[in-house]
């Protein structure tokens, strides 16, 4: 099957039912996307499929074939961090950092739908992601600052 990840096309011989998460991590060695539960309950495995945040652990590789998959490794542009990555680093929006790729991808998805979300919209927009280190307060700060930065740039 053909899988396009971070703008690169890969022709892969894999079981069509294998999870996208497993293919990304094991075949393409893109280990930034994490396993937390394998059942769609934690958000650690979130990637963008055609711009929509999706849980790669419960998405089959074949369902992603022919669509644009973006992982955490695909957010940087010309060696520059994506503004959401930048904001998460600046606000130290993590403790262990294991949930971070998932949160960042979910945030990128959220901000593309809602460029200027309220607190409540951020909380419900990120409700599919668990941070067991409890960095939510700083994650919300980071999301807001990324949103404000993007607003500033647009003006």
């Amino acid at each position: 099957m053909d899988l396009t990840v971070n703008g690169e096309r890969h022709n892969l011989q894999v079981d069509r039912e294998r999870s996208l998460l497993s293919v990304l991590r094991n075949e393409l060695e893109l280990t930034g996307t994490k396993y937390g539960c394998g059942e769609g309950n934690c958000g650690a495995c979130t990637v963008l499929i055609d711009g929509e945040p999706s849980q790669s652990c419960i998405t089959s590789a074949s369902a992603a074939a022919g669509r644009e998959v973006t992982t955490i490794e695909g957010l940087e542009r010309d060696g520059e961090l994506h503004p959401v990555q930048q904001a998460f680093a600046e606000h130290s929006a993590f403790q262990c950092g294991y949930c971070t790729p998932g949160f960042i991808i979910s945030t990128v998805g959220l901000l593309s739908r809602k460029p200027d979300p309220t607190d409540a919209e951020i909380r419900s927009g990120l409700n599919g992601n668990i941070c067991r280190c409890g960095a939510y307060t700083r994650i919300i700060r980071a999301v807001k600052s990324a949103a404000a930065g993007a607003e500033g740039n647009a003006k």
């Binding site: 396993y35 790729p101 307060t137």
Partner: protein
């Protein structure tokens, strides 16, 4: 004042000093790696040629193993090794290092791989290693195990009964009054106290007694255990682990495998949360045996169901607390009986439970009994301040109730009876410098306490509660090496695994010691061959103990530089001063040499500027304590609790990095709130866990948690060069207590069971109104 050298090489106390670089927030030094996904966690590391290991687990909570047939699995193409307990060395001995929760080595070996009996659902009985994960899974299914199923017991109180199913035929309780006379599921009984509680209760005007119950909860770290072990032909074992303590992994593996520790190298990887659980060996020994048999590296990665069913969660408990006080508010007597479930093998955190249950207060007479009880559930591990969250939930409610009966404001009642520096704990340890009274007073004066509770927009009942918790915090040897590069940058190599900010914190400590900027320091975590012994990153001790090691290494480095520069100043080294990043002659401050320039000059002379130091073994634990004020609203129709306002107080000794401290405070509170309101293991009567997924074991998300204000207090520890206290564990302790007291304030009902699910709160409210 600057913290940089005085001529005395040892500084054991920070009183009177201020630190220029403290109190500032620095970004995490691992930020770029974490936000790009470049950080290598356990499962992200793969050695070429690695096999995939898979553990075969018992489907039963309690059964005798009749036979294990591995032949079909062995024959499957792609399978390189299959092991059972028979492959593990049996005549093992030695002390284990498993953090804050002890386990005997034979028990640990049986926990790794069941021998005659399986004692919990998920108990390993065999393991396979194959070329890919699918073959390994298939091979695991082909291992045939015949069991004789036995009745399980999962509740610690039921397990104590004389007719309960017996887990270990030879287990006889240890206690101060001697060992018991016949086997039971009680593995230990601990008893401590002061004075005469009966007399104390007789002298009390008001007595409150309640029994509380809590369930097993999981640390819930998002990253499952994942380790790679390569047992090479030459006998050397390499381990890559997402562990809290690389030296603990080395020592434990050496004892379990009967190999010399020097033949094992452990390289710590990034750890995606641990909270005490990743201190106890879990998959390393199994991967080691599989690697030994196959001659290939073996990687084992657990899945979420395995994590929940078969790693070490936090203990369930049943606790009775009885306290009596005079009309004037003096606590005359306090008695507690703590029963903690250890899971399948002995070693629940009863000692910490016993120490912490009345630690914040000074009852005139006290008596505390702790029971360590085995049950057919996974063997517990430490969970952030193990034992203390539960004991505080119980004591703080009894304190609240007692105060209300005495018509004293609960916070005043706490202040009147609070422990102070120099007082003694129930088990006769003297407190080092503490500021519990100061913390209570700060809370009492804070707007979070003085302002009215917000009105419920839903028209629900509202209430406010206070809860406080104490934690001893640990000490252990900690080591770091400092190397000054020719360009003046400082490379710090440390033995402490970085769970959530060690590198950031140590860069700040090194900078403060040397009088340079943290950005000039690069910190790396070493493998076990490249740094002296360092205790696990557990027990809230890393920053405190490393502050001594880093300080000493820094002092030694400056001495080297001072000696090397002395000829340039035409002076003896003792007349060369160093301050704020510059060397100069004591009586001529004109000619200064910057740290950077000195580094270049000295390195050019081929003089290594390098020093390794370990923390002072005499360093004492600096206790931690925290307080929460919780405002809640409760739906009278459903019992649902919502948090309106939440404020965290904690004494950190000295505040180094507010962002880091806030991160720990928020994180502990988030787990404490989850524990208080939602989380619990549910077992059926066959001992099968009913909620082994993150859908059913629900941890708080952004929607569940309020914004939390942090109030950080500073009572410097009375030893250590920077006066730092432990920060990581105390914040999980008060939430259950504060929330329970808030629920009572709102509804008049006492919730004696965790979690405080809507159903429990609803029935407690009903019960209360039935009784009028």
């Amino acid at each position: 004042m600057v913290s940089t050298p005085s001529r005395s090489p040892r500084r054991t106390n920070s009183d009177g000093l201020t630190f220029e670089g403290f109190g500032k927030s620095y970004e995490k030094v691992d930020g770029a790696d974490k936000v790009t996904g470049r950080s290598k966690f356990g499962a992200d590391f793969t050695l070429p040629g690695s096999l995939h290991g898979k553990i075969v687990r018992s489907p039963y909570a309690h059964a005798r193993i009749i036979s294990i047939d591995t032949s079909a699995a062995e024959k499957l193409t792609g399978v390189h090794a299959v092991c059972t307990a028979a492959d593990f060395p049996s005549d093992i001995s030695g002390d284990l290092d498993t953090g804050e929760v002890d386990i005997g080595i034979q028990f640990l070996a049986n926990l790794m791989m069941a021998r005659r009996k399986v004692l919990f659902e998920g108990h390993p009985v065999a393991a396979v290693a194959a070329t890919d994960a699918h073959i390994a899974a298939e091979a695991a299914r082909l291992v045939k195990v015949e069991y004789e199923v036995l009745d399980p017991v999962t509740n610690p109180i039921e397990a104590m009964a004389a007719d309960a199913p017996l887990l270990h035929e030879g287990l006889v309780a240890r206690s101060l009054s001697g060992t018991g006379d016949r086997p039971s599921n009680i593995s230990a009984h601990m008893e401590v106290g002061r004075g005469d509680v009966e007399k104390g209760f007789a002298e009390s005007d008001v007595i409150v007694e309640r029994t509380f119950k809590t369930s097993i909860v999981h640390q819930g770290y998002l990253e499952p255990e994942a380790e790679t072990v390569y047992w090479q032909e030459n006998g050397h074992i390499d381990v890559w682990a997402n562990t809290q303590g690389s030296f603990a992994v080395r020592g434990n593996l050496a004892n379990l495998m009967k190999v010399a520790a020097g033949n094992i190298t452990v390289t710590p990887l990034e750890v995606g949360g641990a909270f005490g659980a990743k201190t106890i060996p879990r998959v390393t020994p199994v991967a080691a045996i599989l690697s030994h048999k196959s001659g290939r590296p073996v990687k084992i990665v657990l899945n979420r169901e395995e994590v929940l069913k078969a790693t070490g969660p936090g203990a369930a408990a049943v606790v009775t607390v009885k306290m009596g006080a005079t009309k004037e508010g003096k606590i005359k007597a306090a008695q507690a009986r703590l029963v903690y479930g250890a899971g399948a093998f002995p070693g629940a955190p009863i000692m910490r439970g016993v120490q912490s249950v009345f630690a914040c207060y000074q009852p005139e007479n006290s008596r505390v009994d702790g029971y360590d009880v085995v049950t057919n559930t996974p063997r517990v591990a430490a969970y952030r301040a193990p034992g203390a969250t539960v004991s505080s939930f119980c004591t703080e409610q009894v304190m609240d109730e007692l105060a209300r009966k005495l018509n004293i404001e609960p916070i005043d009642f706490r202040i009147m009876n609070a422990s102070k520096t120099g007082d003694y704990t129930v088990d006769d340890n003297q407190y080092t410098r503490i500021g519990i009274v100061e913390m209570l007073q700060a809370a009492k004066a804070h707007p979070a306490y003085t302002r009215p509770i917000k009105k419920s927009k839903n028209g629900w009942l509202t209430g406010r509660g206070v809860g406080i918790g104490w934690w001893p915090c640990g000490v252990d040897q900690a080591s770091s090496r400092m190397l000054v590069q020719p360009d003046g940058r400082v490379a710090l190599t440390t033995g402490s695994v970085d769970l959530s900010g060690v590198r950031t914190g140590l860069s700040q400590l090194a900078a403060e010691t040397l009088g340079i900027e943290p950005s000039e320091v690069t910190v790396r975590v070493a493998d076990t061959d490249n740094i002296p012994f360092t205790g696990s990153s557990a027990g809230s001790k890393v920053t405190r103990t490393q502050s001594d090691a880093v300080y000493k290494a820094g002092m030694a480095v400056i001495d080297i530089m001072r000696n090397a520069l002395a000829p340039r100043f035409n002076l003896e080294a003792e007349f060369v001063e160093y301050e704020k990043g510059h060397f100069f002659a004591r009586d001529n401050q004109e000619n200064k040499i910057s740290f950077k320039k000195a580094a270049k000059i000295i390195n050019a002379q081929a003089i290594p500027i390098e020093a390794t130091a370990s923390s002072d073994p005499k360093m004492r634990p600096a206790n931690g304590y925290a307080l929460n004020i919780a405002d809640v609203e409760i739906d009278p129709d459903t019992g649902k609790i919502q948090i309106l306002d939440y404020t965290l107080f904690q004494d950190v000794g000295r505040l180094m990095n507010p962002t880091q401290v806030e991160g720990q405070m928020h994180g502990g509170a988030a787990q404490g709130i989850g524990w208080a309101l939602n989380e619990e293991y549910v077992y059926d009567d066959r001992g099968q866990m009913r909620n082994s997924s993150l859908l059913d074991y629900r941890m708080p998300t952004a929607l569940d948690l309020p914004m939390m204000e942090c109030v950080i207090l500073e009572t410097p520890a009375d030893d250590g060069p920077f006066g730092i206290r432990g920060v990581g564990e105390p914040p999980i302790i008060p939430p259950a207590a504060a929330l329970a007291n808030a629920v009572h304030d709102a509804t008049g009902a006492r919730i004696t069971e965790l979690p405080m699910s809507p159903e429990r709160v609803f029935w407690a409210m009903r019960d209360k109104s039935d009784k009028g």
